[in-house]
């Protein structure tokens, strides 16, 4: 057991101890062997440590012979100056440190933009060693989109619709349809087939520099239990595109309330029963705003993100409900909310695609001209409104002429198409801003040569006006109930549902029931299936179908 004096002896210092302390210790060690040994060890250690060995008596001569004996004689004039500065050194240190910190802060303030971007880009280096700096932070500069280095850039790419409109869910969709609602059920988690690794590879091989990435608001609504995993997936997709030197424009194409999908069920209902839009309903507007605030907060530092397209194909409320003024006010409110979260990214503001008729106005419905008597019929008319933010660009859709691109009816002239683009481009230019084509395309109902011709025509117009464009669309589902002719714009088709429609038997297949077979023949899907998806007794789930020429035309455009 350790003696109570053990620690006292350890702390005992001969030269600083009082006589009383020393006597107490000496008295104790006379009767405690252990402490005596400790005391003696410490004492002898101090004796040895202070013992002075002697160097060789002539050692100093060796030292003197090693130094420059004239060193201080030759510097007699300079020496007082040197000594003076040496004495000032302690004062120099804080002075120089202060000046350095001030200079550093000054440089950080001046170059904060570049520094911020450098750090951000460095965190996610590009996979392509030859194009490391191709992707940079984008902003608008008057009528142009510009990169960090000040060079202008056109965002030319494809639209990823990502099946935002939803799926037919047996048992649910029938009920919704019977209630006069849109039967498609919007997913709360993005369908896994829409963007797999192989899709990234295909998009990379296309050679475009951007994607317009559609999402539906429900993915990021606070009520969705998958909100966090959904945002992480979205962030990862943007980073994946970034690693391929491809920018991402995010578009909330399905917003709360009235959207482009449920509109098909809603637009024939009287105003009181019709679903309200984000412009007409404060509840939907606030939900729209909150979801954008969440998405922007989560993604604002993600490299490769070009900006936010706030919605797709908005509809102007009737004048009774606020009209153009309300529309503009709500757009401004939303842009302002986004800007509070992210000061830097571009906000893409869409042109309104249609408007609600006012009483007495003519509108067309099912080939009839009707005078509106308060039912707020739909007038397909487009127009931009200016928002107050400086870092914005204005986007519009281009499927003109509509009857031609959707149904292969009628014809067009280059002058007609050019005037439609020019109208938008000139509007944006008059307010010193850029305009972009958010979506353009032509459906498969048109023969390939006609589609190529239309594409080449619109590409020449886009080039003439120097505007960016996004081809609609990269990929879409095909199937018995997904006609792949009129209204089918995708480059690739994906036959996901084949196991619920056909069975494979040896080198052939058969539909699961007669109704399905009849529908497939009526919609001409059977022809598509035979030509592109059924190969050597197996189903190839993804096919470019007969869109090779379309893709090549796009590739040629993107290359230039």
């Amino acid at each position: 057991m350790k003696c109570n004096y053990y620690d006292k002896i350890l702390e005992f210092e001969e030269h600083s101890a009082s006589v009383q302390e020393k006597d107490e210790i000496l008295k104790h060690i006379s009767s405690c062997e252990n402490c005596k040994e400790l005391y003696n060890m410490l004492y002898l250690s101090s004796v040895y440590s202070s013992y002075e060995y002697e160097a060789r008596s002539d050692f100093y001569k060796q030292v003197i012979a090693s130094v420059d004996s004239k060193k201080y004689k030759s510097k007699s004039f300079m020496l007082p100056v040197l000594i003076f500065f040496e004495k000032l050194k302690p004062a120099f240190k804080p002075l120089i440190t202060g000046m350095s910190v001030t200079a550093l802060l000054f440089l950080i303030i001046i170059y904060r933009g570049q520094l911020y971007e450098f750090l951000r880009l460095d965190a996610y280096p590009s996979k392509n060693p030859y194009n490391v700096n191709e992707i940079s932070f984008l902003r608008t500069d008057g009528e142009n989109l510009v990169m960090n280095n000040g060079n202008n850039i056109l965002l030319n790419g494809v639209n990823l619709t990502n099946n935002v409109w939803g799926n037919w869910v047996s048992g649910v969709s029938e009920k919704l349809e019977a209630e006069g609602k849109s039967p498609l059920v919007k997913p709360v988690v993005q369908d896994s087939w829409v963007l797999a690794d192989v899709d990234f590879k295909r998009i990379e091989d296309m050679g475009c520099n951007s994607v317009r990435y559609d999402f539906n608001y429900q993915l990021f609504d606070k009520s969705n239990p998958n909100q966090i995993s959904n945002i992480l997936k979205l962030k990862s997709d943007i980073q994946h595109f970034y690693s391929l030197n491809i920018y991402t424009v995010l578009c909330m194409s399905i917003v709360p309330g009235l959207d482009t999908i449920n509109d098909t069920s809603e637009n024939t209902k009287p105003p009181l029963y019709r679903m309200k839009s984000v412009f007409e309903s404060d509840e939907y507007f606030n939900q729209w705003k909150e979801i954008w605030e969440y998405v922007v907060e989560q993604l604002k530092d993600t490299p490769g993100l070009a900006g936010y397209e706030i919605m797709c194909e908005p509809r102007l409320p009737s004048e009774k409900d606020g009209g153009l003024k309300l529309f503009q006010k709500k757009l401004n409110n939303l842009c302002s909310a986004i800007r509070k979260v992210d000061r830097n990214r571009i906000i893409f503001v869409p042109e309104y695609q249609s408007r609600e008729a006012n009483p007495g106005e003519k509108y067309y419905h099912e080939d009839n001209t009707i005078i509106d008597s308060g039912e707020q019929g739909i007038i397909w008319e487009t127009g931009f409104v200016k928002v107050d933010d400086s870092n914005v660009a204005y986007v519009f859709q281009f499927f003109d002429p509509y009857e031609y691109t959707f149904y292969g009816k009628g014809d067009y002239t280059i002058e007609d198409l050019q005037s439609l683009v020019e109208k938008r481009a000139m509007w944006a230019r008059t307010i010193g801003k850029a305009s972009l084509v958010a979506r353009y395309g032509i459906s498969r109902i048109n023969p390939s040569q006609q589609r190529v011709s239309w594409l080449q025509t619109v590409h020449s117009i886009f080039s003439k006006f120097n505007i960016s464009s996004s081809y609609h669309e990269y990929k879409n589902l095909v199937g018995t109930y997904n006609p792949s002719n009129d209204g089918f714009f995708a480059i690739y088709g994906q036959y996901n549902n084949w196991k619920n429609e056909i069975s494979l038997t040896g080198n052939s297949y058969s539909f699961l029931d007669k109704d399905m077979e009849y529908t497939a023949e009526t919609t001409k899907f059977k022809d598509v299936l035979d030509r592109f998806f059924f190969k050597d007794g197996k189903i190839e789930s993804v096919s470019i179908m007969d869109n090779e020429d379309i893709l090549n035309t796009l590739k040629d455009y993107w290359k230039n």
Binding site: H15, S49, Y53, V63, V67
Partner: protein, 187 residues
């Protein structure tokens, strides 16, 4: 002006004899300090020569508002430290021939009977078993009665750190003494 400052003043005026006096004033104590760290006269002489050359060459930088002995010990410690870091030599135990004869004539020990060669050999090996920093602090504390403030300046550590290292050195010595006793080696 004390003797050291007078010598320094003369050296800076080009008086090489004054430097010779300064070397002689410090050579034994610095030799002792370094020898206890290195165990080798040869290495100690090489280091000490380097120390004095540095002292001479940088003497104009010495600020006489501070103690000269602290300044010169700081140079000595840095010179040793640089060489020690390069060398990383294996420790060598002291032999009975390394014990200085003059130690036996020293008085003041309460129990004269313990003053044997073997005792000093044990003490020297106990001190040598300390790590480099503990050993340096322990030696500095006794070689010139340096205060913890002076030791902190020499070793470029905080005053509290130098106090702590000294206390730990004593605890290590005590623990190693206990271990020796368990092996039957008494003082």
């Amino acid at each position: 002006m004390n003797n050291e400052n007078l010598l320094i003043s003369k050296i800076l005026q080009g008086d090489i004899d004054a430097f010779s006096s300064l070397v002689r004033l410090y050579q034994n104590q610095l030799f002792s300090f370094l020898y206890k760290l290195t165990h080798s006269r040869e290495e100690t002489e090489d280091l000490l020569q380097e120390v004095f050359i540095r002292v001479y060459n940088y003497l104009y930088k010495y600020n006489n508002t501070y103690s000269f002995s602290t300044w010169i010990y700081r140079i000595t410690y840095n010179t040793y430290n640089t060489a020690y870091k390069k060398k990383k030599s294996q420790p060598v135990s002291y032999s009975i021939d390394d014990i200085p004869q003059k130690l036996f004539s020293l008085e003041g020990c309460p129990e004269k009977s313990f003053e044997t060669k073997e005792q000093y050999l044990t003490i020297m090996n106990l001190i040598d078993s300390l790590n480099s920093e503990q050993k340096t602090v322990f030696l500095l504390r006794h070689v010139k009665d340096f205060s913890f403030k002076e030791i902190s300046t020499i070793m470029d550590v905080s005053q509290e750190a130098s106090r702590m290292k000294y206390h730990r050195a004593k605890k290590t010595l005590a623990r190693n003494l206990e271990m020796n006793k368990k092996r039957g080696l008494h003082l």
